[in-house]
């Protein structure tokens, strides 16, 4: 990995960290523009990094990727730094949308749909219900002050630098295309990548699910049942006599 890439990664982390830090809800006003500027700088550097990682022939896919990825990252930053919890939830929905778009780019269409349905449709709605119940006023005092953002962001920044450096140095220039694994029963490329026949995709996924991972499936079902019962048991209000 070249030194320029390394420098780029460090620059991304630093500017992004500073930006998030400044964007956090805080007592001092007027830091918002600076935070936005830094975050934007970080995003631009990130796009540069992405472009540097593209191989040949990836440009159209690359463009779409850049858009979706930028959406995801921006929505992630917004989720973490908004004051109102309702805003956070809605920005999280954007994150989910961006993520499912990325799933779609990677031949995981079922997952894209499932993510949107489950996350954006069920989980976020539950969160919003609880927020409505518990915090009718909207923004309360504990939403307006973060707790020790400095140390968290610094350590997260270092973590990010490490992760990015490892990723870039090991997978630099690899294409995201299909590579068969030696020794496994080869799945035909067409079978895997066919997106026109939607039935084949879901069918293939389902076949693999029930054939290779049936035990985990059963366990997942049991977990869901238990979670349901448990949630009701925990949250039930004791009857007043």
């Amino acid at each position: 990995m070249s030194g320029a890439m390394q420098a780029l990664i460090v620059a991304i982390a630093i500017s992004g960290g500073l930006g998030v830090f400044l964007l956090m809800p805080r007592a001092a006003t007027g830091t918002r523009p600076a935070g936005l500027a830094l975050a934007g700088l970080s995003l631009a550097l990130l796009v540069v990094a992405w472009c540097a990682n593209f191989g040949e022939g990836d440009l159209p896919a690359g463009l779409v990727f850049c858009l979706l990825a930028a959406l995801t990252v921006v929505a992630g930053v917004m989720t973490v730094t908004r004051r109102s919890p309702v805003s956070c939830a809605l920005w999280f929905a954007s994150v989910v949308i961006g993520t499912s778009g990325l799933f779609m780019l990677q031949n995981a269409q079922f997952l894209a749909a499932a993510t949107i349905i489950v996350y954006a449709g069920a989980i976020i709605v539950m969160f919003l219900f609880v927020v409505m119940l518990a915090q009718q006023s909207g923004v309360s005092f504990y939403d307006r002050t973060p707790r020790e953002p400095a140390l968290a962001i610094i350590s997260a920044g270092i973590l990010l630098v490490l992760l990015l450096s490892v990723i870039v140095s090991t997978h630099h220039g690899e294409s995201a295309s299909v590579r068969p694994i030696a020794g496994e029963p080869s799945v035909s490329k067409t079978a895997f990548m066919s997106s026109d026949a939607a039935g084949q995709h879901v069918a293939g996924l389902g076949r693999s699910l029930f054939a290779d991972h049936w035990l985990s499936l059963e366990i997942a079902g049991a977990v869901l049942l238990v979670a349901m019962v448990g949630a009701i048991a925990i949250a039930a209000r004791k009857e007043r006599a």
């Binding site: 990836d58 995981a108 518990a134 707790r147 973590l159 690899e174 295309s177 997942a220 869901l224 949630a231």
Partner: protein
């Protein structure tokens, strides 16, 4: 190209960690945790695509399942905690500290000011929810 997806996954993970460690609202903390899971799912799907097998996606399905179950239980617990103290603030829960350690007060610095509610004709301008006193917290039994 693979690296890009992994980069996005890493960024989502780190952002989720920052949010979990920083925000005081229990809901937002949980949302950040979910975002971490999203980043991991992205990673898995990217590799599943690279090695052209279903395993990554199936694991992502499981992540989805468990995330849903976790959300249910977590929200039930959050509701219970809210019933106790009447607040979604996670800094209120310090009962497991060392007996002679002082309680940590996160509200030492003044909070950011919130713009005044719009001067619409309302019946009861509730304004910003004030800081709960200790007695109120102790006596709050329900929302």
């Amino acid at each position: 190209m693979l690296a890009n997806y992994l980069i996005v996954g890493a960024i989502l993970f780190v952002l989720g960690a920052v949010g979990f460690l920083t925000r005081r609202n229990m809901i937002v903390m949980f949302l950040s945790a979910e975002m971490m899971l999203q980043g991991v799912s992205l990673n898995l799907v990217a590799f599943s695509n690279v090695w052209s097998n279903w395993h990554g996606q199936i694991f992502t399905i499981y992540i989805l399942t468990i995330a849903a179950a976790e959300a249910a239980i977590a929200l039930a617990l959050v509701v219970k905690l809210y019933h106790r103290r009447g607040s979604l603030d996670v800094s209120l829960w310090q009962d497991l500290r060392e007996p002679d350690q002082p309680a940590i007060d996160d509200d030492a610095e003044p909070a950011a000011s919130v713009p005044a509610p719009p001067a619409w004709p309302t019946l009861t301008p509730a304004g910003v929810e004030p800081r709960h006193t200790d007695e109120e917290i102790e006596e709050a039994t329900h929302v």
